[in-house]
């Protein structure tokens, strides 16, 4: 059984998914007003400019909240696993998984850094690890 795959990886969101395949976390950064934006849209939600530019982020953030899922969504999701909301250093918040750690070690406010994990042959998604340097752990 396969994990749930994103439904639309082309079009306006293509740079996000192409970036993940290349090992970088890219999000939209409006050249007109400087607003960082996630998820992708064909306009800037702050100033209305069309087609905001894409930029590689530092891939660092903090945990805004998290849950350890004890009963997985489907058999493809082996519980326990951590679903978290990550506040990127650049500003936007995104949902992700925190991997490679004892779930008991995750706290709200913990520093995390991006990693990449394969969801299918074609799809790679950004996930996060607890930071080993400069973080709260």
């Amino acid at each position: 059984m396969e994990k749930v795959l994103p439904q639309r990886v082309d079009g306006v969101s293509a740079p996000f998914f192409e970036g993940a395949s290349d090992g970088v976390l890219k999000i939209q950064h409006c050249a007109d007003c400087g607003h960082w934006q996630f998820y992708p849209r064909p306009f800037c939600t702050a100033c209305g400019a069309d087609d905001p530019a894409w930029e590689v982020t530092r891939g660092r953030g903090t945990v805004a909240s998290f849950s350890i899922v004890r009963r997985g969504l489907t058999k493809a999701y082996e519980a326990p696993y951590a679903v978290a909301l990550i506040d990127l250093a650049e500003g936007p918040r995104l949902m992700s998984n925190i991997i490679d750690c004892d779930p008991e070690n995750i706290t709200v406010g913990a520093a995390v850094e991006v990693a990449f994990a394969s969801w299918s042959e074609a799809i790679t998604l950004p996930v996060f690890r607890l930071s080993t340097e400069g973080g709260t752990l």
Partner: protein
């Protein structure tokens, strides 16, 4: 022109709830419509508006139209609102506006589903979690409890709310359900029972999650003027409010403050009431943190003090503000989208004084609040015995 007191709820009906395998969602929906209309002392031909919510177990593309046909009704106002639990009150506000504008006379709002018997457990889980963003949330495997766990965790980290305080929501709700013979779960539970129940999505445990049920309910709304000539004592709609802050939890502007603050303030202003005026409140309780945040945002305690409020005041029978006197979605039933309807029909019965053993004293003014999505869409209704 204000909607205050312009309309009244004059009919209410619940089908059997819990495990009802011998009825399809469509059959439950039809039963609820017929039951509510009969409760009002009306015939189907007296109804010219029908608002439904689609079923997950037996979805129909044009649901309200199909239900009207099923019952051989020919309404002037006919719509399916698919926005989830919060649909309930917002649909009523729009129906009330239609009645006030003269484009509809008497409107039935109905919701029914067979989440328990019409779907497998995995189907129900997968369908409900599809509320997450298809590209940027769902792939990470969040379950519906996990979405609400994110809110609970943030509240605990920000305000120091404890698991014991959150558990009080489940314990007190069960105490109400114990007094309601139609409730699905009626055995009293303790805080320890809640904390020792199976972890589902930390920090939420099994007894902090709402039930999975079959069932349906309907209400009948008409003008206040017409209501005075009907069979039941009218329950007047005194205030409506609606608020929307996001759809997906990762886009919420604030994890611990919801648009209930907006919808509640609007409803109170229209009705000219304040939180201390209510004899009871029926609050959407899909998970324990939902109630915690609603108690704060609807003004029953200050932001961040929901945990302390639950610990000191509680919300069970005899509390200063009894909440979910029928047993809520945590203990009465939760057939998916229809879940909130049972809080509404209970509010109507409380205000009529029809609740027997669980009747709240001096029930003259009641609050009903529903939300949909993941604390996304909120609707508040102030109901009273007098205009």
């Amino acid at each position: 022109m204000s909607l205050r007191g312009a309309t009244a709820l004059v009919g209410a009906y619940d089908t059997a709830v819990g495990v009802v395998p011998d009825r399809t969602a469509t059959e439950l929906c039809a039963e609820a419509i017929r039951g509510a209309v009969a409760d009002a002392g009306l015939d189907l031909e007296d109804v010219d508006g029908l608002i439904t919510c689609n079923s997950m177990a037996q979805p129909i593309l044009y649901h309200a139209e199909a239900m009207a046909e099923y019952l051989q009704m020919y309404p002037h106002l006919c719509m399916t609102l698919p926005t989830g639990g919060g649909t309930t009150v917002s649909a009523l506000a729009h129906a009330a506006a239609a009645i006030q504008a003269g484009t509809a006379g008497t409107v039935v709002m109905v919701m029914a589903d067979s989440l328990r018997s019409g779907l497998t457990r995995d189907q129900a889980m997968r369908l409900q979690s599809s509320t997450g963003h298809p590209d940027f949330e769902q792939p990470y495997g969040p379950t519906v409890p996990a979405y609400y766990a994110l809110i609970a965790q943030a509240h605990m980290a920000t305000f120091g709310t404890t698991p014991e305080q959150l558990a009080r929501v489940a314990v007190d709700t069960r105490a109400h359900a114990a007094r309601n013979e139609t409730a699905q779960m009626r055995d009293l539970i303790t805080v320890d029972d809640v904390l020792n129940s199976r972890p589902i999505a930390d920090p939420l445990r099994l007894l902090e999650c709402s039930l999975v049920s079959d069932g349906g309910a309907a209400v009948v709304l008409t003008s206040a003027e017409r209501a005075r000539d009907l069979k039941q004592a009218p329950v007047y709609c005194l205030g409506f409010g609606e608020g929307h802050s996001h759809e997906h939890i990762s886009q919420a502007r604030d994890l611990t403050t919801s648009a209930a603050a907006v919808s509640g303030a609007a409803a109170y202003a229209m009705a000219g009431v304040s939180p201390s005026d209510f004899a009871f409140a029926q609050l959407y309780d899909c998970f324990t943190p939902t109630v915690l945040v609603e108690l704060e945002d609807l003004g029953f305690c200050a932001k961040g003090e929901g945990g302390a409020y639950l610990e000191s005041e509680g919300m069970g029978p005899g509390a200063r503000l009894p909440v979910n006197t029928h047993g809520g979605m945590l203990s009465h039933c939760h057939p998916g989208n229809p879940g909130a309807m049972f809080g509404l029909t209970e509010a109507i019965r409380q205000l009529r004084g029809d609740c027997g053993e669980r009747q709240v004293e001096n029930a003259n003014l009641g609050l009903f609040h529903a939300q949909g999505g993941i604390m996304s869409s909120h609707a508040t209704l102030v109901l009273g015995r007098e205009c």
